[in-house]
Each structure stands twice: as C-alpha cells, then as structure tokens.
Symmetry: C2
Subunit: 249 residues, 2 copies
C-alpha cells in the first residue's frame, strides 16, 4: 500500500522542510516512486528544489486543476505538488464548508491513490485547517525535534492535538521522532536527546547532525545529496531513508 508520511510539528524552524525534501529525494534515489506535497503557504519545498511552480496544491484543493496538471516532476521518480501563497485562499474556501472540510485534502489526492510508493507531506508551523487536513490524510507522522526547551514543549502540545484527531482517524500514528540540529559537543543536545530516549524510545531515529551544508543547499535549489553527498547531513538523511524503507508497513 502507498505510505503516507506527514512531517509535522507546530513549533517553527525545527527542520520540517529540510527533512521532507531530503527524505523524499532519498527514497526516490533508492528507487521508490515518491510524491512530495507542500501544504505550507511559505512554499519552501519548491524553492529548495529549485523550481518555480505555476500552479500546485491550492489549485487541486479548489478543483481549478486536475492532478495531472498540478503535479511537477522535480527529480527522477520524485513528483512535487507545490505549496505557496495561493494556499491561503484555498484554506479560506475549506474553512467555509459546513461539514467535511477536514477531508478536502484526502478527497483531492484520491485520484493519486496507489500511484506512488510514498507520499511525503511538509506542513506549516501552525495548527490550522490545512494541517488538520494533513492529519486526516496521512497514516504515519514523523516529528523533527530540535534540541530546544521550547521545542520539547511544542512536542507535548502537538501530541495533545494529535490525540484529538486520532479519535476520528484510528490509523494515524506518531511513528518517527527525528532529532535535528544535533551537535555532540553541546551539552544541551545531549541532555535533550536523553529526554527523548526516555519518552520516545522505539520511535527515536538516529539524530541528524547540525550541518551548515544542509542550510546552504536550498540556496542552490539542491537537495543534500546533490549539494554535498559526503556531508554529515547527507549521511544522516540516508540512514533515515534506510530505516523508513526497512519498516515497509
């Protein structure tokens, strides 16, 4: 079955977009057919892949375009459904529905069912109608966690919100907790990692290290594998990709 993995945390700047892109491309490089969906009005997935999309998810959600028209082939075996500013209007249209608004994304992506091995969804740092739509569509959640006190607070809040959705969507699980910006030399990183091990033991992935190359790559429209395949960032995301492929539902 097609795996649907949402990269979520309402705390900003934890590495959601970086993870979604480098996981999606990692899976494609390893031979899977992958769709990456950007549900953020920031639209940074397209920017980071060096693509300037004409249309994207907003047109699909508001039925102004078909999936064939809205999808862009970003790399071999990696298709993009771009986010961006137009999503603000689509969100308002969804908000106005009297019922079933939370299913709008699932209904829009229904024609693509079975066409990919993985759907990876990048989300905005907020708890809005679109992030709720993502939680009604995805089955697996990957939460990036930066080594910060406020981020840990954000994870607790997120799990509280998640529990509310799981009442209506039983298949949805927090499946991966991914430490990001990990710097072994800094005490804070070690302490936070210890706390994560206690709370999320089996869900906890190998940390992604702090790596300047990861933050430079989007400026060149490249994924980490293209920008610096031998960097700690590339290594880290290869390990994550491998773990997720090995888990094959």
């Amino acid at each position: 079955a097609m795996r649907k993995i949402a990269v979520c945390l309402s705390k900003g700047g934890v590495g959601k977009t970086t993870t979604a892109i480098n996981l999606a491309h990692g899976l494609a490089v390893a031979g899977s057919n992958v769709l990456i969906v950007d549900t953020d009005t920031q639209g940074h997935v397209a920017t980071s892949l060096g693509i300037e999309p004409e249309i994207g998810l907003a047109e699909l959600l508001t039925q102004r375009a078909t999936p064939e028209e809205a999808l862009i082939l970003a790399r071999d075996r990696l298709w993009l459904l771009a986010g961006g500013r137009a999503l603000a209007g689509a969100k308002r249209e969804i908000d106005r529905k009297n019922f079933g608004g939370e299913q709008t994304l699932a209904e829009s992506l229904e024609p693509l069912e079975g066409k990919f091995d993985f759907v990876i969804l990048d989300t905005a740092p907020s708890l809005d109608i679109l992030s709720v739509n993502v939680l009604f569509y995805a089955k697996e959640i990957l939460t990036p966690v930066s080594p910060e006190v406020l981020t840990l607070q954000g994870v607790l809040d997120f799990q509280h919100n998640l529990a509310g959705v799981q009442k209506y969507h039983k298949d949805l699980h927090l499946k991966y907790v991914l430490p990001t910006f990990y710097d072994m030399r800094v005490r804070k990183s070690k302490e936070i990692l210890e706390q994560l091990k206690v709370h999320y033991e089996s869900l906890l992935c190998e940390p992604i290290r702090y790596s300047v190359k990861l933050s430079e790559a989007p400026g060149f429209g490249q994924t980490i594998y293209e920008y610096d395949p031998n960097s700690p960032g590339a290594e880290g995301y290869k390990i994550l990709t491998q773990r997720i492929m090995n888990d094959g539902n």
Copy 2:
C-alpha cells in the same frame, strides 16, 4: 503616545518569541510600563516567563473576560496577555464575522489605550487571521532574521503580504530588522548580514549573537537578564532596547 511594536515573520524559529520577551522585559527594567501580548496558539511567552495563565487573549477577543481579568503582572512594570491553545477557538470566531474581523484585536485592546508606554506583540509563524489582526493594530514592525537562505526568502514574502495590509493601514511600518543567531565565526552569518545591510540599511539593528544561554533561559521561566545578565544575549537585547527607547516616536 503608546508605541505598538509587533515582532513578526511567517518563517518559523527565527527568534520572534525570544526577542519579544527580552525586549519587553528590557524596556520594563529601563523604567517603561510594558504590555506583552502573545497572539500565538503555542503560548510560549507565558512558558518562557514561568507563568501558567488561567485565561488570556482568547477570552478577551471573545468577550468572555475584561482586560482587568485577563492581564497578568509578569514582572515589575511588565504585564502579560497570554496566548495558547484557546486562541484556535477565538480565531474561528473571528473568521466567521462577515466584516471587520481584522479589527477584532484593535477593538479588544482599545480599553488599554494609553495605559502603557509600549505594547510588544509576539506572533505565530503563519499568515492567519490573528497575524492579520496584529498588523491592523501595531504601528511598528520588528522582524527577526536568522542567517538562513530560507529566512531571507521568508522576509521577501512577508514584505509582499505587508504591502497588502499597508494599503488599508497607512501608519504601519517595517521599522526594525534584527539579525539573530549571529555567529561571527561562520561565513554564512557574515554573508547574510552583508545582504541585509544592502537591503535594510537604516532599519538594521545590531545583531543578536548565537548564545546557548538564550535558549536555556525559557527552561527556567527566566528572561536573559535574570538567567545570565552578562551573556552576549543579554548584551545584545540591552542594545536593542536602548535603540528602541532612543527612537521615541
């Protein structure tokens, strides 16, 4: 006149909350009467000040509480109007208004007009109805900018959105651009700072350096002046506070 400064950028994790708290407390320590308003559902202002609020901005916006009931004295001369989860409900109520929704915050804060020297507003990393409300209330905008390519992209997007609001709210100006997470040893920091100098010359503030103490302080419910008054973070926010007080509208 009461100065209303919103700390805004839709990009997540750039130091909005850290700046709002340490600026607001800096101004209070220097003798001003300050109100800090948290418009984010994350509610991290209260957490970072070591306060567990019963009610806050959400109750004020939906007229379930008066300003006297909703305000909390957080430090000497520093009053807090807390954010948090309840704001999600308040946002839905505002969304349903047929007109004037964007003025809801301004109308709710009207009874407080003139009672403070400064109102500092922390905002969520998103472009939602509440951040629009903030832009219709505040007159000055302070944008924290982390030394990242995706953040610079976020600043361009933000200015585009700002121009839309300024058509209806002529008094609103981007007044301060504050480099955050600045690390003189890293090339990226220097390069991004150079770009900011070219685009925002007179608006550009003295950078806030990367300082682990700034990220530790919220874990103890303390501002940087309480946690480590001699750290580079405390120095940086003292300089910012001084600049803003000297600008006295």
